[in-house]
Amino acid sequence: MNVFNAACKRLAPLLVMLLLACKGESQLPAAPVTTPGPPGVPAKHCRNFNALRNPYFGDLHVHTTYSLDANTQGTLTTPHDAYRFALGEKLGLQPYDANGQPTRFAQLSRPLDFTAVTDHSELLGETEICTNPANADYNSAECLFYRQSPDQAFIFFNLFGPGTAGVPNASGGKSVPRLPYCGVNGERCLEAAKTPWRDIQRAAEAYYDRSEDCRFTTFVGYEYTAAPQSNNLHRNVIFESEVVPEIPPAYQEYPAAEFLWQALSEQCQAADGCNYLTIPHNSNLSAGLMFQTTDDAGNDYTAEFARTRQQNEPLAEIYQHKGQSECLNTMGAGSRDELCGFEVLPYNNLTGNRFGGLNTGPPMEQDFLREALKEGLRLEGTLGVNPFKYGFIGSTDTHLSTPGNAREENFPGHAGAGLNPRTGVPGLTDVIEVSPGGLAVLWAEQNTRESLFAAMRRREAYATSGPRMQVRFFGGWDIPADLCGSRLFVEQGYQRGVPMGGDLPAARAGSIAPRFAVSALRDPGVSGAEGERSEPLQRIQIIKGWVDAAGLKQEKVYEVAGNPDNGAAVNTDTCETSGPGFASLCTVWQDPDFSAEQSAFYYARVVQNPSCRWATYQCNAAQVDCSVPDDVAPEYQSCCDTSYPKSIQERAWSSPIWYRAQ
């Protein structure tokens, strides 16, 4: 500290001068930025550009060795490994053999289209540049300033930090390539000062296919890990481009979401080519905090605060290893929705079952997105702005660097929470309540960062619990009732309605009720020896939520296509499936209970025929026989825990479409 203070004193006059210079210089030369096209209409770049948009499957929640909780559980795989895995390459997992080679392997039978590695920023961010005295820049003016006044540090970072001016033109073969974000003073960004954050950026650059093939997109990102008293307020921060803050704003410095957004808005400015969004996850484990209706200081939401939240957070993660956050089935009409029983964790925060459940309680409806969306409508009624306007994505939250590894048949475990594969007992690969997680699907014109990011922004996204079904969902006032028979389903959907994530326009005079067109294709699966089995669809539901005239939150689940009683079944002793199902389902549905005076949201849930849950595969493989409890080995006792189902119905959740009463 003495050295620090001395340096501060020496450099204080310089700091003041620089700060004054910054303030006086209102017309700072902006870094060159590629101007994006109008929203939603990117310039054609990729060979498979489709103006009507393609579905892109990916994972926006991936941990590697740089995450403390992954590393301490034996994960040594890196962001590079994670991206190679997403591309379809085989990845070795611990433990390692005599030659240092891994003994377990994982591989996707279908590569992903995009992935973001999102290691925890805590213990990663505040390191080398400005906080490591061994670093030559430790006593640089901007670092002193950063440590003293982080709130104003953005001025310096705009001056010296991110910017696209210094992108090196790699010509010689000898030099170590630099990262594209290196600013005017690129020397500081030499790889000699490599840190995890820079390695994460470099890995993202290494596997982002910028050619016209557009095979794969990476996003630079990180997880903001706020968890006061173990109550989960985590967010994944996703950046649109390679221009990112020098240091990812972390919980230590920014201990509430609003501080995070403030820091990001300062350190990641669109004028520099930096854009971001934050995606909350595991609201199911927030013990009532994720969607509370006050800010961190306990003040009620204001319109401005609601707008900030909506702008920063267009999406929420509805499903991952640590359960679903859609609905709990405990309140009002929700108690009739038996499909809310899917992958519910039995506690309400990250402590889970540790310490005998002392620091947790049963899950709470208000932590689930359906309830939050209703609360958002209620707040919109008083504030004029809806703070909880979330579209849906799924992801894995893998702590093994295995993005998209969401199949039930070969779940290698979460490796973050739950069982530690490093010292685990033989038996199930994880605690019974976790699950393999899901996927994020984005409707975009092409597989580029700009196009995918725009899809996230407009919420044209949906979640799946792992399978790759395709789901289109349009809402509008004059969607043709016979749209399903048309070859122009998609064209008409866009022309005469809004896609998932959108807002219905104001009702026209004479309109009775909005129509919703929903069409889904089953997962086509992968045939062959290394294939991937898939199940047909069973039904589509539309879930409506609203606030009634008395101010009470309401919801209703409509069966709109398929057949919930189709007789499809799975033999949980063999995992063989039987019974009919649908290769595709399509319908145009008109809300029979529509009231123009009530704001509402509508989302589609596409449900597969039943299939085995992950643990059932493992219990069967171990030939566990629960009819003779005494013979069941302790490590397989969970196989006989009847509070967890042996089968599941995989599903997709579309982002909602909102109607706002005038």
Binding site: N50, G173, E191, E205, E212, R468, R472, V526, P536, S584
Partner: protein, 312 residues
């Protein structure tokens, strides 16, 4: 004057040498890494847990080696003073002690000394991990990438860096849901009509579309599944092939144009291939550095791994 100059030169030389060798593990005193029977048992349990079986002798030896390497990196980091100078390690140690002794009025340096005396810098998993990471980063610095290495990377990963073969095609679809009993007959009738009628009006609508721009096998497989992708990639342009069965029904495919696959172009992918190759190269550097470091930290296993108690 001359003597003074010699004195200063010699002194400077010695000082320089001392500085140089401080970072030179070979000249530092040897410090064995001891692995006890408890640690060996933990390694065996780890294997049992992950694979359901005990490791064989060679595997156990390698796992213990890995454990020792980590310990070695922690010790080396401590020797270089990183446990006190690295801000993350410092912060964690101070945090631990302030948690343990909330009433303590001691300053940071005293507390830090106490933490080191309590060996917290070796036992706390955050600090351990941080120190290991710092050492690995030190070792990975200095890797240089040659054009030759870059070409090797490209040659080893033609699919990652080259352009895939692509076909532009149309399809006519018959839905299995809509033809639960007469799919084959409908396909036969359709095949005949394809010869004369415009395909735009034939078959049934398919959500995935009927007309596709230049698409790779992977992109087609994503929408239709494996069989259609294979058929489209194999089809000669300018004529209908099929029917091909998918999870949805039957498809007739007409390839309109083909773009052939292209080998990787070094200049076009130089940057991203460099980043990928460099990562591999750095791993090699770390491995080399570990081998060097093992001379200073010989491994002594205080448990029967095999006949002899020590490993190389």
């Amino acid at each position: 004057m001359k003597r003074l100059l010699h004195f200063l030169l010699l002194g400077g030389l010695l000082l320089g040498l001392q500085r140089l060798t401080a970072d030179w593990p070979l000249l530092a005193a040897k410090k064995p890494i001891h692995i006890g029977s408890e640690q060996v048992a933990a390694v065996q349990a780890e294997w049992q847990g992950a694979l359901g079986r005990a490791p064989d002798a060679a595997q156990l030896q390698a796992s213990v080696r890995k454990l020792a390497d980590e310990e070695m990196l922690v010790q080396e980091a401590r020797r270089l003073g990183l446990n006190r100078s690295d801000p993350v390690a410092r912060a964690r140690l101070l945090q631990n002690l302030r948690f343990a002794y909330p009433e303590s009025l001691q300053d940071d340096e005293r507390l830090l000394e106490q933490a080191v005396a309590l060996r917290l810098d070796q036992r706390d998993f955050v600090v351990r991990r941080r120190l290991i990471q710092l050492m690995q980063q030190r070792f990975s610095v200095g890797a240089e990438l040659s054009d030759e290495a870059l070409r090797d990377t490209l040659a080893a990963n033609p699919e990652r860096y080259g352009s895939a073969r692509r076909v532009a095609f149309r399809q006519v679809f018959l839905s299995a849901d809509q033809h639960p009993h007469d799919l084959a007959a409908a396909a036969e009738a359709l095949q005949t009509r394809l010869k004369t009628a415009s395909d735009a009006d034939l078959g049934e609508p398919f959500l995935g579309g009927s007309q596709f721009g230049f698409s790779s096998a992977a992109e087609i497989r994503k929408i239709f599944g494996t069989a259609v992708a294979q058929a489209a990639m194999a089809a000669a342009p300018g004529r209908w092939v099929g029917p091909v069965r998918s999870a949805y029904g039957l498809h007739f495919i007409h390839v309109d144009a083909v773009q052939s696959a292209q080998a990787p172009d070094l200049e076009a992918v130089r940057q991203r291939a460099s980043y990928a190759a460099l990562e591999q190269l750095e791993q090699g550097h770390v491995e080399q550095a570990l081998i060097g470091l093992r001379h200073r930290y010989p491994l002594v296993v205080d448990a029967p791994l095999e006949a002899s108690g020590a490993m190389r």
